[in-house]
Symmetry: C2
């Protein structure tokens, strides 16, 4: 007799805005329940009663079909929220309890308006992020090294170690002006820092990686090349690590580290410096 | 007598991981209390009792200095959390109540381990994001148009309308293969879509902007040029909008819209198509 897999339970993410916050919290909560078959259904921009009612109808249909929907929402406007509360989902009201508590703690009535948390609310911070992104792109991969004086941090490492995604993430998410410099054969012949980096020692942050992982990444890009060979990867990583050690750079291994984690490490290092 | 501004209240963001989720929720909650003078203090990677105790000591010092710290945490490990709970901060335990409720609803004991929500937990999704980023970079600004067949979406608009940040965000955050094509003078002379876009009509997404805003952005980049002149910006935006309308593209105005919001709009459009 074939075993049947249980159907994936519907998890609705309902927000009056982009839904990033709601998605983040829902996943952070559900990560504590590994193995649960779930399917995420995003319903961003549910900003008025009519939109919320449409979501409630979806929930009703899912429920009628025997599914047991779970709904996470960051909606705070009472009449919009009420539509969802009336639906047959197990509802997680992610913000209201905290807002109620903050009203007491801060002695101020909450706004509870639609889109209370607007990414561009703080315009100067937003523009700072966009400028940082321009900067990261303009100084990616060793180009624009004359602008290193303006950088907050310069990531250093061999090709495909993860410098570019990390720079872009630091810029987009945190408004950090992150440049990056690729270490290549020429650099390994010197016993010290590459010339463009000499004056910026305090801003450097080294990235390294397991050579076998690097080999796999480079093979995907350029199979059967010297560039991708395990031997070459081992050579480059060894030389890069030796350089980092000699110069005394903070170093992060990116082998099983996400850009979010590397970025957080860079931020901590910046805070300490 | 000079009026004194109230001191900014310390808001600690304490996480056993990068702290992105905790920061997100805290800001979403506090956005409902505009005008409160606050200062954010990030304490990521607070992953064991010793680290939590160090944070608790900071809180004690702040409190002793007459400040009234508020602490937001996504820590779920009971003994680490207990250190924070013992500190004199007003504590917002962001995940525990939801986890408790989910334990009942899902009939499963929660893991409550450190770093439960790991960005690379789902490795294939993570690699998908990195590949999407490579793709977005390789097909940025109209280059690599031979790869448009592999794109999930192609953003179309005039120079500096916001195509590149949006593409990179879609890739990094959502794993969407987003290319972008800059409309230039040559394109406006044709009555129809630029040739490289002809075959990909279903993937196109137009971006537009207030010409005065575009003028300001371009002026910052290249002051007093024809490129940045208000007249030129008005001309290009008018022609671009006419093209979008003729072809029947979905269009988003980026004038006061963040990349997060534009990206969410693109995702909704993709979901409908």
């Amino acid at each position: 007799m074939p075993t049947t897999t249980p159907p994936a339970r519907p998890v609705l993410i309902v927000s009056d805005h982009t839904g990033l916050t709601a998605d983040n919290i829902a996943r952070a909560l559900l990560a504590h329940f590994p193995g649960q078959p779930l399917r995420y259904i995003a319903r961003p921009f549910t900003a008025d009663v009519a939109a919320a009612r449409a979501v409630a109808q979806e929930v009703t249909a899912l429920s009628a079909a025997g599914e047991r929907p779970i709904l996470f929402t960051t909606i705070t406007q009472p009449e919009v929220l009420a539509e969802l509360q009336a639906s047959p989902a197990h509802l997680f009201d992610l913000l209201t309890p905290g807002i109620n508590e903050l009203e007491v703690e801060l002695g101020q009535t909450a706004a509870r308006t639609v889109g209370g948390y607007h990414d561009m609310h703080d315009t100067s911070a937003y523009l700072g992020r966009m400028e940082a992104l321009d900067f990261a792109l303009a100084t990616d991969d060793g180009v624009g090294d004359k602008q290193y004086g303006l950088a907050d941090v310069i990531l250093v490492g061999v090709s495909r170690v993860g410098k570019t995604p990390t720079s872009l993430f630091l810029a987009l998410q945190h408004g950090i002006r992150a440049s990056n410099y690729p270490l290549a054969e020429d650099d390994f012949e010197r016993e010290s820092l590459p010339l463009p980096l000499e004056k910026h020692r305090g801003k450097l942050y080294g990235l390294t990686i397991d050579p076998r992982r690097l080999h796999a990444i480079r093979t995907q890009r350029k199979a059967a090349s010297r560039y991708a060979s395990l031997e070459q990867c081992e050579f480059e990583v060894r030389r890069a690590e030796r350089l980092f050690q000699r110069v005394g750079l903070p170093v992060r291994d990116t082998t099983s580290t996400s850009v979010e984690e590397i970025a957080a490490g860079v931020l901590s290092a910046l805070r300490r410096s």
